[in-house]
Each structure stands twice: as C-alpha cells, then as structure tokens.
C-alpha cells in the first residue's frame, strides 16, 4: 500500500489535497490575523479538565503496564508508611490498656494518730457514698500493725515500742471512669478531710508508663518524619528516572507549544499514584498485622485476667496515613519535576 504511494507520490498528495476539508482550503480568504485558532475560555476549562482525567488514567495504566518496577516503589512506600502506622497502633492500644488498669490509681489515706477505729469506719462509709469512689478498704490500728509486722520483717523491733504507732488507714479505689488528673484532684480533696493526716497517691507505675508512651509517641513522629523523607526521595528519584526516559517527548511537546504545567502533569499524577497505591498497600499490611496479633494479644491479656482486645487502626488514622502518603508522593514528584523538568528546553 505504501509502496503504491511511493510510486506515485505527487498524484496521491495532489488528490488528497484536493479533498482537504473546506476549512483548510478557505484559509487564504479568511485573511491575515485570522490564522491563529481561538478556543473559548469555557472550552479550555473543559479541555483542561479532560486532560487531567486522561492523564490520571494514562499514568495509572502506565504504572500497571510495568508492574515489576512499579511494585518496587509501591512496596517501599507501603513499608515506610506501615512502620509508623504499626507503632501508632501499638501506642494507642497501650494507652487504652493503661486506662483499664485499676490498681494503679489507688489512694491511701493515713488518718491522724488520734483518730479511732470507729472514726475511721465512719469516714470510710462517708467516702464510699461518693460517686467518684468505687470502694474503700478500712484498715484498723491493729490490722495496720499486723500488716506491717508481716511485710516489714521488723516484728521484734515493733514489740519494743510502747504503743501502736501506726494510724488507721483507708485504701480508696477511685471510680474507673476517672482519668489521671481527676484522680489527682480527688486525692487533693481527700487530704482536706478533718481526720486525714496524709494522702498518698499510688500512680508511679502508671506515670512511668505514661512517660514511656510520650517517649514512644515522640519516636513515632521522628520515625514518621524520617520515613516521610524517605518516601520523598524514593518518589523523587523514580520520577527523575521517568523524566530522563522521556526527555525527547518533553522536548517535542515543548517545541509544539506545551506549557510547563502540561509537561509536569503526568509526572505529578504518577507521584500521586505511587503515594495512593503505596498508602493503600500499607493500610492492607496494617490490617494483616492486626489480624495476626489479635488472637495472641487476647490470649496474653486473658492470662492476666483482662478482657483486653487489640484495636485496629481507627479509620481516621488510616485516612491520615493514606492522604499523607498521597501528598508525599505528589510532593516527591513535584520536587523532582521542579529540579529536572524546567531545564529541558527544545
């Protein structure tokens, strides 16, 4: 077919020219200045939107057409998102767990030396009626001495003392609904009671845990920041290679009138897809991780007599990870594009 045309090119060209659409042939009559095509603003807007859509679909298909290399980038992003995601999940679980540990918030009230067992019992009954308090354990002079004798191992020394130096003691269990600050203020209020000499809040264990949590949370942020940087670099580098592979196309496009925005678009969408799919994979990994750990965690908790259940990442947090990874993919592409693309001139 093409050899035919080659044999008689002039006739072919002439014939086809004669058949050119009227708009083309009428150009000389349209006069000077009318040669440039004018496209309305609205058409441009629609065309711009369509181009976005087309580029979005094309870049995704392009990535799917090279699954091996795309998967590498996706996995790197997925792992980089999964790590802080998993830490985050652990931290929020431990936070939840620590809230359910009751003993940790116990308040021990030591009454005045002069307060009798009877006064102590009355105070215990009064306190027990408060809504902020679940339970009050009354420990008499004698019981206190007995306990001390058993636990201190200084029984002989105690026998030397003339009387019983130990005060009546009340162990207060705050309502489980109270958080740490409420427990603290409850303890302050209890100290003000007339017969109370001292109130000792036993929160050291809990506070140590809280301190650990703050530390680990900080670590999540630092780690998250570093891994975000890693995503930026990985996507940036991948896009740099993509740009290098398409230098000719970029040159030609610019030569026939492509704006920088037009040339940039496919690369930015590619970055967006890397981030989005990587983020989705990370979400999947976190769900698998949760499914794997759920049963062992419940077993472990039941051995401690707790009904604790490992919670999955909340949807809001998962959304944050997803959008974050998408934005990082886009930013990585933007960073790479602004470094390498504008330099390519025809």
């Amino acid at each position: 077919m093409s050899s035919n045309r080659r044999n008689d090119p002039r006739a072919q060209v002439g014939a086809s020219l004669a058949e050119r659409p009227a708009e083309t042939r009428s150009r000389p009559e349209s006069g000077p200045g009318a040669l440039q095509q004018h496209i309305g603003f609205k058409d441009k807007l629609v065309a711009g939107f369509l181009h976005h859509q087309m580029v979005a679909v094309e870049t995704l298909l392009q990535l799917l057409a090279h699954p091996a290399s795309s998967l590498m980038t996706w996995l790197v992003i997925a792992i980089a998102v999964t790590l802080p995601g998993a830490l985050w999940m652990s931290v929020s679980n431990v936070e939840q767990l620590s809230g359910s540990i009751r003993e940790s918030g116990r308040i021990t009230l030591y009454l005045n030396d002069t307060a009798s067992n009877e006064q102590g019992r009355q105070l215990a009954a009064t306190l027990e009626r408060l809504e902020t308090i679940d339970e009050v354990i009354f420990i008499s002079h004698e019981q206190a001495l007995e306990n001390f004798r058993r636990t201190s191992g200084m029984a002989d020394a105690l026998d030397l003392l003339p009387g019983n130096p130990l005060p009546v003691t009340l162990v207060v269990q705050p309502a489980s609904s109270l958080d740490a600050t409420s427990i603290r203020s409850l303890s302050e209020r209890l100290r003000e009671y007339p017969d109370v000499a001292a109130a000792q809040l036993d929160m050291a264990w809990l506070e140590r845990l809280r301190a650990w949590l703050v530390l680990v949370q900080r670590m999540v942020w630092v780690l998250g920041g570093l891994l975000a940087l890693a995503i930026l670099l990985v996507v940036g580098n991948t896009i740099r290679l993509a740009i290098a592979a398409r230098v000719d196309e970029i040159r030609v496009s610019k030569l026939v009138g492509a704006t920088n925005a037009w040339v940039r678009r496919p690369f930015l969408y590619t970055g967006l897809w890397y981030g989005l799919v990587g983020g989705l994979m990370a979400w999947l990994m976190l769900i698998v991780l949760w499914l794997l750990l759920k049963q062992p965690a419940a077993d472990l908790a039941s051995r401690y007599g707790s009904g604790f259940e490992l919670a999955a990442l909340e949807p809001a947090a998962a959304m944050v990870l997803l959008i974050g990874s998408m934005l990082l993919g886009w930013a990585g592409a933007w960073w790479s594009v602004s470094h390498h693309l504008d330099e390519i001139e025809p």
Binding site: M1, S2, R5, R6, P9, R10, Q12, V13, G14, S16, L17, E19, R20, P21, T24, R25, R27, P28, P32, G33, L35, Q36, Q37, I39, D43, K44, V46, A47, G48, L50, H51, D248, E249, R251, V252, S253, K254, L255, V256, G257, A258, T259, N260, W262, E345, P346
Partner: protein, 224 residues
C-alpha cells in the same frame, strides 16, 4: 503587516561565537522562501530564534506582528503554537503511533477528541499518509517519517511553517516530493521558510532565496 520581520538581529552564543551578525528581512503572508548558506552560516540559529529556542543578543524579531523580545517565558508556548516546525531529524516519538505523534500539538492546545481525530485525518490526508494512523514511526520509510513530521507541523493549521533541512536524509526523488508538499501548503496560504543545503533541489523551484554567509544575508533573491 508582514508575517515575519527581522530587524538587525544578531545572535552571539555563550561560547563567543557570533552565529548571526545583523540580519534584516521580511516575509510576507503566504510567501515561501528558502534559506541557504554554508554549514555554520546560521540557518538553524535563525529558525531557532523564531521559535524562541534561543533569544537574540541584539535586534528585534516580529512574528505575526508580535515582538518576540516582549514575550515572557509563560507566553512562549502560546507563541510556538502559531508556528509549525519540521526538522531534519524529524523529532518523532518512536514509541507512539503515527496518530499520537500528529495529534500531540492538538492535545496540547486542548482540542477535544472528535476535533482532534478529524484534524489528524485531514493532516495525514494532506501528506498522503491516510490509513497509517496505527503504525509506529519505525515501521515507516524515511520519506514517510518526514511526512508524518510535516503532518504534525501543519495539523494545528499554523500561519507559519518552518523547516530545517527537511530533505537532509532523503534521496532526490523523495526530496522533490517533500518540497512539492511545502509548495502545496503555500498555495493554501501558509507562509513557508525552509532552510536547506540542497541548492540543486531549489534551483528549479523559482522561489525567493535568502543566502546567509557568516551570519549576514549575502543575497536576497526575490522571484516575481
């Protein structure tokens, strides 16, 4: 108003080489001219200045009444859409089909698919390549590839068509065929400027010749 006007244009490359040293000429609308001269005379440089691939060091260039010195970088793409260009190394995208290659300027200018398809067909028709839309450039002969490049240059119906050595790699028959094509575009009103070495080819064509030598216009041979 002329289509192209050069006013004392000089171009000195950063290497210190003065490629053009004060060139002045005008091209009327619908005119066709050849730009000739020895290798290194500044033919490509002159065309690049019109495409704003380079900026002049001195002088002014007007294309379609627009002073190119006044264009900002963001206006350059829109200026380039007014001009069709054909290069010797045709600058086709070899991983795309003929259709995609020719449609590229339309896609960039924001045409919808229907207009796009219609115009691509018209352009391919005008270079005698209708029916080859689905082929890849590697599956075409050198002459056919060059014609795809021409189709891409004219698909946007530019007022001005520039060609740099469009027949450089082609045998005499094919070269004549390509030149014939350019003449036909002139006949429908396009202003055409072609840089070429091939004196023997254009001798017979009775068109205006601009002869460059060492960055100056040595001769401007009008044909009436």
């Amino acid at each position: 108003m002329s289509m192209v006007r050069f006013d004392q244009v000089a171009k000195r490359y950063s290497g210190g080489k003065e490629a053009l040293a004060g060139v002045s000429f005008e091209l009327e609308r619908g005119e066709m001219a050849f730009l000739t001269g020895h290798s290194g005379a500044g033919k490509s440089t002159l065309l690049k200045l019109m495409m704003l691939m380079e900026r002049p060091s001195r002088g002014q260039i007007f294309v379609d009444g627009q002073n190119l010195n006044r264009l900002t970088p963001s206006q350059i793409p829109y200026h380039r859409r007014k001009i069709g260009v054909v290069f010797q190394n045709h600058q086709l995208l070899f991983d795309r089909t003929v259709y995609d290659n020719v449609a590229l300027p339309l896609l960039i200018a924001g045409y919808n698919h229907m207009d796009c398809a219609r115009r691509v067909r018209a352009a391919l028709d005008s270079v005698g390549l209708l029916g080859l839309e689905g082929r890849k450039p590697v599956e075409l002969s050198g002459g056919e590839q060059q014609r795809v490049g021409i189709a891409r240059a004219v698909v946007n119906k530019p007022a001005l068509l520039l060609a740099d050595e469009p027949t450089g790699n082609l045998d005499p028959d094919l070269s004549e065929e390509i030149m014939d094509l350019f003449m036909r575009f002139q006949q429908v009103g396009v202003t055409v400027l072609i840089a070429t070495h091939d004196i023997s080819l254009i001798e017979s064509m009775n068109k205006r010749r601009l002869i460059l030598e060492h960055g100056m216009i040595l001769e401007d041979r009008h044909v009436f």
